[in-house]
Symmetry: C2
Subunit: 257 residues, 2 copies
């Protein structure tokens, strides 16, 4: 048995001995890269299934802690902001025969049976704003691959649905949570911010109208530097005026009375 | 053994044989009654614990279906709208010694052990708009009692937290979901609607400003009848103009560009 195979077999057996049965967590990890929103995907090392990062919940950790652990296993992020997407709990939610090949690796049948059972998953999303090198601290998955949200190929099980609901939730959080800030580097151009809005809400936004409204809102401040890119005029750099940006985020709905 | 005790013992044993281990659902059930928002609570018949309705997830049903079943067991509502609140998954989330007395009733120790384990719960909220008689189709709970949300005494486990998060979620759903309509009878006065807004957002709303804005919004239509109550002037009755009300609900956030 190769070292890799041994690691897989041991990891599976240790995880299943110590986790809540038939329950998992998944994390939709977003980033804004080259003017598009990207999603982190991974493949199982022993089955050709592309999924979003996920794992089980240890008996001695909370569901949130399990999601943080999963996130840390696939990125360099510890204690990132995780926001709830919701529960994925269909009665037939199971990988079925996807794991039968594990027997050849030496995984006990009882473990394969447990993995093949119906699982309920609780999903979170998180946003990272830079391109630090990803880690891979989970032997059953490949390194993270970043895929464009707009042209994401179908994922295994209901993972495409989890990503779609995560995107929807993230878009609806824009007014009440610091979602935009999480996507951007500290300094950015208005074109960059406009592109982000366009990706999140999946529609064209008029440039002049956008610039006028966003500058009037007071949530940005000019850095005093310019970014020269391509042949065009250098673009002003902005950063969030944190106090005004946070004050603009509101959990109370603006009803007009 | 009394008939009641037999039913309890059989119900527990049947439920545990057929459900996902260490997993439950809870439902926060709201109604608007006597100008206040009320929450449905139940007591265990064999332990002095006040909780919100809840139960396990059968192997052959989805998490949503389990929540619908729980709702139907405590009310006359089938296929009510259920909206997700989130996951309650603390590592120490367990009733501990609350169920030891079940041994006296004849419940097997293995069942008591299973009930006493750490459980993860997915919570939903639902809204009912009238006072039809509640049913009680679950032998381990008493009939539903309606308690004022504003002065709700602490509930067992983390159920007060579930109610608080449910209230918060419901308030944030007002602009995108037909939440207001679910609370109200078909015909209502402006004072009734203003009271509902006040309960949901927990703040005083100016009467004149409210009437002006809400009538200008076009989501209401006058019924053409008046309600005489007490010694005051009879109040006009209104109903939602459904097409305009639903059009006003929006999942796209109004950004101004």
């Amino acid at each position: 048995m190769s070292k890799l195979t041994k690691d897989v077999v041991r990891h599976i057996s240790e995880e299943l001995a110590n986790t809540l049965p038939q329950l998992s967590v998944n994390v939709v990890l977003f980033r804004y890269h080259h003017l598009e929103i990207q999603v982190a995907t991974v493949d199982f090392v022993f089955a050709s299934l592309t999924v979003i990062p996920g794992g089980f919940i240890h008996q001695n950790e909370s569901v949130d802690q399990a999601a943080q652990r999963v996130l840390a296993q696939h990125s360099c992020y510890k204690n990132a902001i995780l926001r709830e997407i919701g529960v994925f709990g269909a009665a037939q939610r199971m990988f079925k025969d996807a794991f039968t090949d594990l027997r050849k690796l030496g995984v006990p049948q009882s473990n394969i049976d447990q993995l093949s059972k119906r699982h309920v998953s609780f999903a979170y999303y998180s946003i990272i704003n830079d391109s630090r090198t990803e880690t891979n601290d989970n032997p059953i998955f490949t390194q993270v691959q970043w895929k464009s949200l707009k042209s994401l190929a179908p994922l295994a099980l209901d993972h495409s649905e989890i990503v779609a609901k995560g995107h929807q939730k993230m878009a609806s959080d824009v007014l009440s949570q610091p979602v935009l800030q999480s996507f951007l580097p500290e300094e950015f151009t208005l074109a960059n911010l406009q592109g982000l809005y366009q990706c999140i809400f999946q529609r064209k936004i008029d440039r002049g109208n956008f610039r006028q409204r966003i500058l009037k809102s007071g949530i940005l401040q000019k850095v005093g530097k310019r970014l020269k890119k391509g042949s065009g005029r250098p673009a002003d750099l902005y950063r969030f005026d944190e106090s005004k940006y946070f004050a603009s985020l509101s959990t109370e709905i603006k009803l007009g009375f």
